[in-house]
């Protein structure tokens, strides 16, 4: 089984602790003048997102986590799970609700997503930073009001609700930043 020694520790390294995959956030090497050295690390649980601290004796080994990130195309959701495809191998993978989490509201069929795989199965899903989605429901637009800066909620085809300018109508395509959930601009059909 692959493992890492403490001298390989660095931010982003994926390790197993108590049966869960973790990523190293911070690694501090401490050592008295003479004597035993230690690595004090902050690690994030890749399943729960929780950050905890751990202390290792320098020179000890820790099991490597079989974690990799890959870009997959989102295909569809059939109620059982979200289905993704590797566009090179055409291999399909299914992500469960725990893996998709809050990303679900941004997932549009055909979009490429960054998927973290743990032991070959999706552990988390990151939507593209920018998505183009159709407004499916919003109050009628106020014609000519392009300057007041007022906003109204709009429901998008994926179920996400974002604040949009008052002039937008149902059926329009908009561009949204998924990291902030903010409306950016109107989008053309071909974008």
């Amino acid at each position: 089984m692959a493992s890492y020694k403490t001298n390989e520790f660095k931010g982003g390294l994926k390790i197993m602790l108590d049966g869960d995959p973790y990523t190293i956030v911070e690694n501090e090497f401490v050592k008295p003048g003479k004597g035993q050295a230690f690595n004090r690390v902050k690690v994030r649980n890749l399943k729960t997102g929780r950050v905890v601290e751990r202390t290792f004796r320098s020179g000890d080994s820790v099991e490597a986590a079989d974690v990799m990130e890959t870009d997959l195309q989102y295909l569809y959701n059939d109620g059982d799970g979200w289905h993704f495809m590797d566009t090179d191998s055409f291999e399909q993978l299914t992500a469960d609700p725990a893996a998709v989490g809050d990303s679900a509201k941004w997932l549009k069929e055909q979009d490429m997503c960054r998927v973290t795989l743990y032991n070959g199965a999706p552990l988390s899903v990151e939507p593209p930073n920018f998505v183009v989605l159709t407004v499916t429901q919003t109050d009628p637009g106020i014609r000519g009001d392009t300057a007041t800066g007022g906003t109204k909620p709009a429901t998008l085809e994926t179920g996400a609700v974002v604040n949009v300018p008052l002039f937008l109508e149902e059926g329009e395509l908009i561009r949204v930043d998924t990291r902030t959930g903010q409306y950016l601009s109107r989008a053309k059909d071909d974008s």
Binding site: E28, P32, K34, Q36, A37, T55
Partner: protein, 327 residues
């Protein structure tokens, strides 16, 4: 680490480079005034310090026709300097690069600059006084009040434990109570727990107001210091802290060849038990000790860390022209 710029560029800025040059000039003047001789000894040696807590780097090359191919980069110039002392050099000092594998972090760099000096006829107390005088000279803008505390008192006052007697299980409980994450999972002996508690709970406060000398260590941490026997034997050693950084290690030097050989053997046994490489003992040092090392005190001081303190930097890379990642 300082932010990444073009990797060909130095990490230390010009003021830091100037501060290093000033420091070197000043310390050479200090020792010249006091009649301490500057010396140089080999960086590559056929022998190495077997201390299990220090891992030397080595290279394999035929430097001589018949000698060993494997040469170790010094982890400290201690052994050859003691050979000079035994040969009658009188007081000596050296500024040199030393190398230690697997030491890298905010306060550690695998290649660092050490100032080491030896004072025949000095007691450990006299050497601590001289260290303080030197540091006041090197950091003239800081008043640097000096405090001294026994290792035992440091642990007793700070954590309520007796480093000679408290059991490893009780030390583990203290570590857990102090919130050292994952302490419950560590399997350490008494010295290991003491090291952990020192690093995590005590060191950050040491030397906040000036220079703090911690002295009289447990005999199990004697390294190359003499042990004073008694009801509670102590190793005559000190460590110097300033602003939470360990800067120097001083010893009332062990001069007994038989005891030195015994400690080498013990260190090698620990290395074997931990699966570390065996290292050739320095027979030249043992022969020099058998010939006779004058009673002396010696100290090694990390100049990079001293610069970190003087400049108020928060990472050792800020005082290095090119850290190992850019070397």
């Amino acid at each position: 680490m300082p932010e990444v710029t073009d990797p060909w560029r130095p990490c230390a800025d010009l003021p830091a480079l100037r501060a290093r040059a000033r420091l070197l000039a000043e310390l050479r003047a200090f020792f010249a005034e006091r009649g301490v001789l500057e010396v140089e000894t080999p960086i590559l040696s056929a022998a190495a310090n077997p201390d299990p807590a220090i891992e030397p780097l080595h290279l394999d090359a035929a430097l001589t026709g018949d000698g060993p191919r494997r040469r170790y980069l010094q982890t400290s110039p201690e052994f050859p300097m003691k050979r000079l002392l035994a040969a009658g050099s009188g007081p000596i000092y050296q500024v040199c690069k030393v190398f230690r594998l697997d030491e890298r972090g905010r306060r550690h760099h695998p290649e660092f600059t050490m100032l080491e000096w030896y004072r025949p006829g000095f007691s450990l107390d006299e050497l601590m006084d001289e260290v303080a005088l030197l540091l006041r000279r090197l950091a003239p803008t800081d008043p640097l009040p000096v405090a001294r505390i026994r290792y035992r008192d440091l642990f007793y006052d700070g954590l309520g434990v007796d480093p000679w007697r408290t059991s490893p299980a009780a030390l583990r409980a203290v570590a857990e109570a102090r919130g050292i994450a994952g302490a419950g999972e560590l399997d350490l002996d008494r010295d290991g727990w003491l090291d952990l508690l020192l690093c995590c709970c005590l060191e950050p406060e040491l030397g906040c107001a000036g220079l703090t000398f911690v002295y009289d260590y447990p005999p199990s941490q004697a390294a190359l210091a003499r042990v004073m026997p008694g009801e509670r034997p102590v190793a005559r050693r000190f460590e110097l802290y300033w602003r939470g950084l360990e800067l120097a290690n001083g010893f009332d030097e062990l001069a007994d060849a038989a005891e030195q050989r015994r400690r080498f053997r013990q260190d090698l046994a620990v290395r074997a038990a931990r699966g570390q490489d065996a290292l050739p003992a320095d027979e030249h040092l043992l022969a020099a000790l058998a010939y006779g090392l004058p009673a002396c005190a010696g100290v090694a001081l990390g100049l990079d860390r001293l610069l970190v303190c003087v400049l108020g930097a928060d990472h050792i890379d800020a005082v290095l022209a090119f850290p190992v990642e850019r070397a």
